[in-house]
């Protein structure tokens, strides 16, 4: 068997780690090291590594100890959660204030031990993947506080990524808070099929928010998540449903399902035929089951 041998030594390259102890320190380090990766729970990156020795970014800023990023605050109008808050802590502390769809979606993050390390900010910022909580928070018109040294701004959650699924944070910026307005929603539904952690390509989730008063749908929003680059929303369908009286007549139900079917089948997004079919069946079922 041929062997040409080799003369080069194996270079030793280890990641460089920063450990800021408060938010100001973090912003300063990020400003000076714009290429450094923010590391909170790390489950997104570590979960993808197959070999024993993970391949990590060259420069990392570990933010799990920063107290300002873990706060959970509630006012009359909104709930604010720090980007570094761990999912299970959010579920435990916020169990009486969390919107139903959000807590349902959080509960479905499995295995359960993952929820003890994964953070809300980390969950939202996974590259090229819109996971379940993004889908829910997007429907709820949540906003995000983005900070850099010497400044901050709030953006709508939908502006976190561009059309190509690329994150829109500048190199020296970080996500610090997530603000969830308390909505008028009196029906909140979150269902999912499959678990992105076990099988990213197959999992499908549905989130529905409805404001129903005296049997009339005043507002309605629906999103489909397939852990792809985008959240899928059929705005036309939502408009069709708003203003209708519940329960739907069979003619109305068929018209809505047909509309959704035509729309989902015409989408050019990466949805498998099976996922499209599931969403058609799901909507068909939801329309029939949605009661005042």
């Amino acid at each position: 068997m041929p062997n040409t041998g080799g003369e080069e030594d194996v270079p030793e390259i280890y990641s460089h780690i920063f450990y800021p102890s408060n938010l100001n320190e973090l912003l300063s380090i990020k400003n000076k090291n714009p290429d450094a990766a923010i590391w909170s729970g790390g489950t997104g990156l570590m979960g993808k590594q197959k070999s024993k020795r993970p391949n990590l970014p060259i420069s990392i800023i570990q933010i799990s100890k920063i107290p300002e990023l873990k706060k959970i605050k509630r006012t009359e109008r909104f709930l604010e959660i720090g980007a570094g808050a761990v999912i299970n802590k959010i579920l435990n502390v916020g169990q009486h204030v969390l919107p139903t769809a959000l807590s349902q979606a959080m509960r479905l993050i499995k295995p359960t031990a993952i929820r003890n390390i994964a953070t809300l900010g980390g969950h939202l910022c996974v590259q090229e993947t819109r996971l379940n909580l993004f889908s829910v928070l997007s429907l709820m018109d949540s906003s995000l506080e983005i900070k850099k040294q010497g400044g901050s701004r709030w953006i709508q959650i939908n502006r976190l990524f561009n059309k190509n699924g690329e994150i829109q944070l500048k190199e020296n910026e970080i996500l610090t808070r997530i603000r969830i307005p308390f909505g008028k929603w009196n029906r909140e539904i979150f269902k999912s099929n499959g678990n992105p952690f076990f099988d990213m390509g197959k999992a499908l989730s549905f989130c529905i928010l409805a404001e129903i008063e005296k049997g009339i749908i005043n507002d309605f929003r629906m999103s489909i998540g397939n852990s792809g680059k985008h959240i899928i929303r059929n705005i036309e369908l939502e408009s069709l449903i708003i203003g209708k009286k519940l329960p739907f007549s069979s003619k109305e139900a068929s018209a809505i399902s047909q509309k959704h079917k035509e729309w989902i089948q015409s989408l050019t997004l990466e949805l498998t035929p099976f996922q499209r079919d599931q969403s058609i069946r799901f909507i068909y079922w939801i329309i029939k089951e949605l009661l005042p």
Binding site: S15, S51, K52, K65, P111
Partner: protein, 161 residues
């Protein structure tokens, strides 16, 4: 890099490349023998530890993330009184997980009991999702966890009297 941890009540200073998985660091440098590496994906729970009070899969934690962490492994849990709630139910029901999965299963059961005083079937099954060792029957597992919860409730009530 040098990493300070508190392992089962003892302070340790370990030297490791920062990206070494915590499970491998604990096995090689801290000589922890109860940890299993079956998936490196955080699913099998063989590498379960209590990390700052919460049950996590240590294969998902790089060494650098463990700095100043309080870690309890199965070796540490064995020294606590609470483990008797679990072992007693194992004896009652002749529930005997194999050497491979016993530490991970006991750690998971302890975590369930700390979270729920009267766990329901679905809470137990969800907590055990991904633990694929089939050395024990699932129905006996459910029974065992519920009985452990019963013992724990009684013990805590007795302590409070």
């Amino acid at each position: 890099m040098k990493i300070n941890i508190n392992l089962n009540g003892k302070d340790l200073l370990l030297d490791s490349p920062p990206e070494t998985r915590l499970v491998d660091l604990l096995k090689s440098s801290a000589k922890v023998q109860s940890l299993r590496t079956s998936c490196y994906k955080g699913i099998c729970r063989g590498c379960s530890i209590f990390f700052n009070g919460d049950l996590v899969s240590s294969c998902l934690i790089p060494a650098f993330q463990a700095r100043d962490a309080e870690i309890i492994t199965f070796e540490g849990l064995k020294k606590l009184e609470e483990i008797n709630d679990i072992l007693r139910s194992f004896d009652d029901l002749e529930f005997d997980p194999c050497d491979f999965c016993r530490p991970g299963k006991i750690m998971t059961i302890h975590s369930i009991l700390e979270s729920y005083s009267d766990p329901e079937d679905y809470q137990i099954l969800e907590a055990f999702e991904g633990i694929n060792c089939s050395c024990t029957s699932k129905s006996t597992l459910l029974e065992s966890v519920k009985r452990s919860a019963q013992y724990r409730r009684r013990r805590r009530r007795a302590r409070n009297i």
